[in-house]
């Protein structure tokens, strides 16, 4: 978590890395930071000088290099101390110069006294480092090339309780001319680091229409996302790609600009806007990465019309390969696992699982389906409608009846929102519960997921990164009475409407992807194979 001494801590590295990419704008801030740091170093040295005058200790010189530079650095946070422990050591070399000025500052003292002071300072620094080992990080004086490239910053959407991060986000959105969506209602303290928006205040109300910055199809898409009209990871990705196709069609390269660079820059505010309307899903993230790569790979001598048609065909091919054909391949494998007489349990509405069941039914497999549903989204009703229309015999239960119905079930088919790099499955909230109970009843759990939803993130719990939906959805009106109508007035009451949860790989027996059937622990292998292909 972000508990560092200075509130501006996490901002440091971001500014520096951004200053590498963007223009002169941020160097002022960077300079400010350096100035602040120098001031602080001076303060610390003065403090230590005072201390050392009272206690003249001799400490062995060999212990000096590792702790010293860490203590004199500012303490940016949120970085694991062991990961950055190797960093201070190579960085210690430039710092040996810093003790040098302090003796020079006080020429009045004798050399022996100065040495003793220095040693005492280092001793206190070392003592200070051991208990409070949250001090880690990278000194900004170090040339940017020495910054450890492996250390990643936390994404902004999980640091909502940190005012500095929120301020930075607001500045960024202001620059891109996108309105900032404000959080709504009391947030449960365990999830206070996430955004919580109200559906009644869509972002588009704050936009001027016609908006000059954001393409109208993107505005429409954002509204569809935030109102829940387009929901489900596949649907959202496809809608996103179609909107981007429209953007590309309407795009004209401004003079003195290259399409490959300008178009990517044009897409950035759109992505921020969509992120504000509803946080991006893993599949959308991968799709955007793909598009950006394709755009930046356009050769500069390519004519505009040609480049545009090329991009449009790329996007079409992506949709065709990664979503449509993948669904067909997954159905083929999944149908092998459906035998006659099976009772299959599904949860919520996954387009992929519905596809598989419909295909299996067409191939004359005899089975029946139990659809499990949960509030407040009640997506299972949509799945039920689709399956019953095809003629599949279905049963409908709510998730509270799960352990009652499970002894009848022979297999559980689940969809996934994303598959994480450590084998965990991120899916609609309630999925991990189903997997857990199915495991205790020894019912095989099969997760169906296309490979484009595999992401490099690692998560072991549902708290760190999640999505909070509108808490007003939990209000229900029965017989004319709405129970939680005035929940905001009750100060000790918080409503939590989580969207996702993560399921550990021990509860999942099989993952069916378009590459074949793999155990849940083999997700990193697929990611590695995919990276080799690219």
């Amino acid at each position: 978590m972000a508990d560092c001494g200075e509130p501006d801590g996490p901002g440091n590295k971001d500014d520096i890395t951004r200053s590498k990419n963007e223009g002169k704008e941020l160097s002022k801030e960077e300079k400010q930071r350096l100035r602040k740091q120098k001031k602080q170093q001076k303060k610390q040295k003065e403090r230590k000088n005072e201390k050392s005058e009272t206690e003249k200790e001799k400490t062995p010189v060999s212990l000096l290099p590792p702790p010293r530079p860490v203590a004199t650095q500012k303490a940016p946070s949120a970085l694991p101390a062991p990961a950055s422990a190797p960093i201070p050591v190579p960085a210690s070399a430039p710092f040996h110069s810093s003790p040098a000025p302090s003796p020079a500052d006080k020429p009045a003292k004798s050399k022996a006294e100065l040495k003793a002071e220095r040693r005492a300072r280092q001793e206190t620094d070392r003592a200070a480092k051991q208990p409070g080992s949250s001090s880690s990080g990278i000194k900004t004086k170090v040339p940017l090339s020495e910054l450890n490239p492996v250390v990643k910053r936390l994404p902004e959407h999980v640091q909502v309780d940190d005012p500095a991060v929120v301020k930075r986000l607001a500045k960024k959105l202001e620059r891109q001319q996108i309105p900032l969506r404000s959080d709504y209602g009391y947030k449960v303290s365990l999830f206070s680091h996430l955004h919580q928006y109200s559906r009644k205040a869509p972002l588009t109300q704050q936009l001027s229409i016609p908006s000059t910055v954001i393409h109208p199809s993107i505005v429409r898409l954002g509204l569809q996302y935030s109102q829940g009209i387009v929901a489900g990871s596949n649907a959202r990705s496809v809608a996103l790609l179609h909107a981007f196709k429209q953007v590309i069609r309407d795009y004209t390269t401004p003079p003195n600009e290259e399409l490959s660079r300008d178009l990517v820059n044009k897409l950035k505010p759109y992505i921020s806007f969509l992120n504000q309307c509803r946080p991006l899903s893993a599949s959308m993230g991968n799709a955007i990465k793909y598009i950006k790569k394709e755009i930046s790979n356009i050769p500069s001598q390519c004519k505009e019309e040609e480049a545009k048609t090329k991009l449009l065909t790329c996007i079409d091919r992506y949709i065709e390969e990664k979503i449509v054909l993948a669904a067909k391949a997954i159905s083929k494998y999944a149908i092998e696992k459906i035998s006659d007489g099976d009772v299959i349990l599904v949860y919520g509405c996954s387009s992929l699982v519905n596809n598989i069941l419909c295909e299996a039914f067409e191939k004359s497999r005899k089975f029946r389906v139990i659809v499990v549903d949960s509030r407040p989204r009640l997506e299972g009703r949509e799945a039920l409608r689709r399956l019953v229309q095809r003629g599949i015999s279905c049963t409908y239960v709510l998730i509270s009846a799960l352990s009652y119905i499970l002894p009848e079930v022979s297999k559980v088919f689940l969809g996934a929102h994303a598959l994480l790099a450590n084998g965990y499955v991120m899916s609609r909230v309630g999925t991990s519960q189903i997997a857990l109970v199915a495991r205790t009843f020894n019912v095989p759990v099969l997760v169906c997921c296309e490979t484009y939803k595999f992401c490099e993130k690692v998560q072991t719990d549902s708290f760190v990164s999640n999505e909070l939906d509108d808490p007003d959805d939990l209000m229900v009106t029965r017989k004319g009475k709405t129970q939680l109508e005035n929940w905001q007035d009750v100060s000790s009451l918080g409503l939590l409407n989580l969207v996702y949860d993560v399921t550990p790989p021990d509860f999942v027996d099989l993952v069916i992807t378009d590459l074949g059937m793999i155990p849940c622990t083999s997700v990193p292998v697929v990611l590695r194979v995919k990276n080799l292909d690219q």
């Binding site: 095989p444 099969l446 155990p519 622990t521 083999s522």
Partner: protein, 303 residues
Amino acid sequence: MNLMKLVEYFRTQVRQDPEVPSAVAAIRTLLEFLKRDQTGETILGLRENLTQTIRRLEEADSSVAVSSGGELFLRFISLTSLEHPDLSQCKKVMVERGELFLKKISLSRSKVAKLCHTFIKDGAKILTHSSSRVVLKVLESAAADKKRFTVYVTESQPDSAGRQMADKLQNLNIPVTVVLDAAVGYIMEKVDLVIVGAEGVVESGGIINKIGTYQLAVCSKAHNKPFYVVAESFKFVRLYPLNQQDVPERFKYKADTLKAVEDLAEEHPMIDYTPPSLITLLFTDLGVLTPSAVSDELIKLYL
């Protein structure tokens, strides 16, 4: 090339050398077929003939190993088909590669034995199931290493294969006791580790082996004893059973039973499936693997 002759060739191979794994015999047969085949004009035709032959061999001997060996051979030679446009040259390269493949896998059993015997400590009590030639080789190399250990073998009905294993072990001067299949739970507290062979290793990291292995695995998990599996890499097969029912019928029963009997519900299956959660380590010629690493290796072998 007559399919009947091929099956005969296969059977003679197995009869002549009882030590040879059935997958190796199958691959030798396929190689023979490749050498003698005159009818194939195209690569696709050749592949089809080979697939047919493999199916015929599976009918003759329904073990999982034949199926996996055959599929591996097919993959191994298919990778050549892209390189040479001329069919006869292609065939020559295929035959060469086949011979190379065969040579490599005939050494796999000794590789496995070399890896595994270090896990047997002095004074160990080992439990094994039915008769496995790989386990025999492992115990042989451990004995050659001057280690002292005792072995318990389950009788393994319905064919009492455990008794043959016990005889072979006695010939190696290893103290051995035969126990009933039902006595596995009873004996488990006395043993230090369990080593079994495998007829097939599936994609999930689980194994298919003689019936009774699953029980053994569950008992050893309950007693927290390590459960080791020794298998050569050509036994890796592209199956993914979810539970016992999910194992295809053609592997469960002997080939003669499949042909003779009408209602298989009356017959007792000869194999069962052990899920990967019960297995500690797998010793293969590709190295010592955890069950989750098997999928990784399979992807490398097959893709």
